[in-house]
């Protein structure tokens, strides 16, 4: 690739100008270092395993817990046993709550074609049909639905997000596990290789259709038909990055705030509580979503990464903090891949007009990353 050389560089006044230059010169948001490669690939392997469990559960809930208003065993994927129940209560398990938290972030923040489709008359009609079929003979729920006509469609919208996020993570899970296999085979050597792998994976799956069909009494009901034209990249990946990487929600325990003093923006688009901003040092309280993810990834750490963490001052004691930092590093690689994938013109373009357009585009991303953890991850240390 013929990248922009330092000599030809257009000067930027942006606070993150050095990162803009690095991307224009073919680099990534995360600096190159052997340790960073170990951390990013290792944590993505662990994340791939966790996502594999998450997506299967999300799809199970969407398909098999459709309009179950008291889904007591929704995390059991249909396999309820005393052993699993005890393990569930013991909390030595995959915390599917984190997957739901991400789903709700997407539902809340919306965006993309899925959000628009769920507000369309076509969706309303399909949702009503499926809802009526499901609640046939259930007089109590039929009465509730009549009294609160918005209730049922909203439940089905949520189930659509369960399914859409499940389908998105199915692709991502496989992508990360393949990355790990390639690393094990010696095919991945740098952060750029990681970014390239993710970018290729996103591009490859970009037009994969997102659909959602439920079976009720043996009859299929298409809630999101293929004809709705929803696709992987623009209708799930991009809204996911916006909702989970950037915006998310303010959580007591991760963020200290006083809502009465309007310390939380009333405009959700100005939220910046996502994965790229999360404080890896928990302030207190258990069960907060980011901690759940770190807890889950801890079960699947590859040996070389676990060994890498042992060299720190605290070893096993602050493993979740290390996992969180590595995870944020890996997510900045995914963000780099998304930035490159969505770039208006090729990053190595020599056309001044196109370069200027790319520059404006990159500065737009960087504006949002100024307050993120990106700057603190530039020194290749923890």
């Amino acid at each position: 690739m013929n990248m922009v050389s330092t000599r030809d560089r257009i000067t930027s006044e942006h606070p993150l100008a050095s990162l803009i230059y690095r991307i224009e010169e073919g680099g990534a948001l995360l600096p190159e270092s052997p340790d960073n490669v170990v951390e990013v690939v290792g944590i993505l392997k662990s994340y791939g395993h966790v996502l594999d469990a998450y997506w299967q559960n999300l799809v199970y809930i969407a398909d098999h817990q459709f309009l179950e208003l008291f889904p007591f065993f929704k995390y059991f994927n249909g396999d309820v046993s005393t052993k699993k129940l005890l393990r569930h209560w013991w909390h030595d398990r995959i915390n599917y709550e984190f997957a739901e938290y991400c789903m709700k972030a997407m539902l809340y923040h919306g965006g993309g074609g899925l959000d628009s489709y769920l507000d369309s008359p076509e969706f309303t009609q399909r949702a009503q049909a499926a809802g009526q079929a499901k609640l046939k003979g259930n007089f109590l729920m039929s009465g509730v639905t009549k009294a609160f006509p918005g209730f049922l469609p909203e439940q089905i919208r949520q189930l659509c997000y369960y399914s859409a996020l499940g389908q998105f993570w199915e692709v991502m899970s496989s992508m990360f596990l393949v990355l790990s296999d390639r690393y094990d085979r010696g095919e991945i050597h740098s952060i750029n290789d990681v970014v390239q792998h993710v970018k290729n994976g996103l591009v490859e799956a970009a037009s994969k259709p997102i659909t959602y069909t439920v079976m009720i009494d043996g009859k299929p009901y298409d809630i999101i038909p293929k004809s709705a034209g929803l696709t992987f990249l623009m209708d799930t990946a991009v809204p996911y990055v916006e909702a989970v990487f950037f915006r998310s929600f303010p959580f007591m325990g991760t963020v200290s705030y006083n809502a009465q003093a309007q310390q939380i923006s009333p405009e959700p688009e100005r939220f910046n509580y996502g994965a790229l901003y999360a404080d890896p040092l928990p302030v207190g309280g258990a069960g907060i979503p980011p901690t759940l993810l770190m807890q889950d990834m801890r079960h699947y750490l590859p040996d070389y990464l676990h060994e890498f963490y042992q060299h720190s001052l605290r070893g096993e004691e602050d493993l979740r903090v290390h996992i969180c930092i590595s995870f944020q590093k890996s997510m900045f690689c995914v963000t780099t891949a998304a930035i490159l994938g969505l770039m208006p013109h090729p990053v190595d373009t020599t056309d001044p007009q196109e370069r200027q357009t790319n520059r404006t585009y990159l500065e737009g991303w960087m504006n949002r990353l100024v307050d993120s953890r990106l700057v603190s991850l530039q020194d290749c240390g923890v």
Partner: protein, 508 residues
Amino acid sequence: MLSLLIALPLLGTLIVALLPEKHGRLTGRAIAFTVAILSFVWSVLLGFKFDAELTSLQFVENLPWIAQLGLSYRLGLDGLSLPLVVLNGLLTWIAVYSTDPDIQRPRLYYSLILLLNAGVVGAFLSHNLLLFFLFYELELIPLYFLIGIWGGARRGYAATKFLIYTAFSGVLILAGFLGVVWLSGADSFEYNPALAASLPLSSQFLLLGTLLVGFGIKIPLVPFHTWLPDAHVEASTPVSVLLAGVLLKLGTYGLLRFNQGLFPEAWAIAAPYLATWAVVSVLYGAFTAIAQKDMKKMVAYSSIGHMGFILLAAAAATPLSNLGAMFQMVSHGLISALLFLLVGVVYKKTGTRDITVLRGLLNPERGLPLIGSLMIAGVMASAGIPGMMGFISEFLVFRGSFPVFPVQTLLSMVGTGLTAVYLLLLVNRTFFGRLPDQFSNLPRVEWRDRIPGIILTVLIILWGLQPSWLVHWSETTLTAMLTGPGAIATTPLVTPSTTSPKTSLKVL
């Protein structure tokens, strides 16, 4: 039997001091540890054999020594000294255990710790005034070196100040003892509560005042306290533990045994002034603690305040208040030892004790969560939260003192409230909030750092829930001290509902 408590650490001192240099670190530590454990276990065994119903001295050992001077080797154990002897054994073991294994000049260090233990236990067991003085002076020497050699940057200043103050305290105590014996015409220094009964009141006041200042320096009471914060700040953690936990108790022990015990008549007249003095100490300690930024200094000033409670209780001189004074000695010994230990861990891991710099140490991943939790427990105990020793001791002190000195007691209770203020300030500033980046890579806390704190916390809660396991040792002795020859005649302004301390304890 009692001599073993003195002989064991003395023998340990000798062995450790004579060890070849290459064995000093490991073998010296092992010997000191073993001796400390054996002494502690022996003191506990004596506690089990101790008959709590007897008012007389037990396990008495009496050997003539220098008859011309009236000095005899007379040891004995009663309900006042037994808890302090056990406390001394426990805290010496904890001090040895929590010493850095890589400490410089280990042979000298461990031998001084054992010598200190021998001096303190000897003082508690002595029933000859001159023998008490010898042991009292004996503990001064190792403590001076322990502060002066292994202390902080200003250790020389702190050690010298400590030496000057406590040496002067020793001189006053010796003068007081000599005065008692000479003026009473006794032919020996053997401790006898009736020794000064025949003296004119003016002589009693003179001698009481001399001893009061002598022990007041050791306790320390305001305004003789200025050596203590300096000594604590400069002393290493194990030495601070011994200093706050046991050494100060020599002063309060002397207050009860020799001031209240020898001069009951003068004591009763001076009592209102002493109670007021106690209030000054309590409030001064509390207010000064609030103003501190150094965690260790804050705990040190807290000690000054809490020692004031003992003077208040001793001044009231009711069976219940005396029991409160004894309980407060043990309670303060354990709680202050715990707090100093925890402050030591914080300092070791963060490099600072400044509460304006420290923050967020309760962080579950990279802070000191267990140390923080123990600190919260210690702070609660010190502030007198029910269910912990601090509550029982303060309740006994106030319940016992209120009928005699209601105003002074109420003012001292304000001091308890202030304890909660400064200790919560300490915990809030140091342990809550977000861990600053400068402390986000603290070294891990070893179990060696945690175990002593856990043991002390368990004891504080255990005796807080079941105080009778401790007070049964002392009730009879302390009651007898007030009903024996020349019993104290302080007049309660309000008559307590019962006269027996045992029945009074039922309110617990």
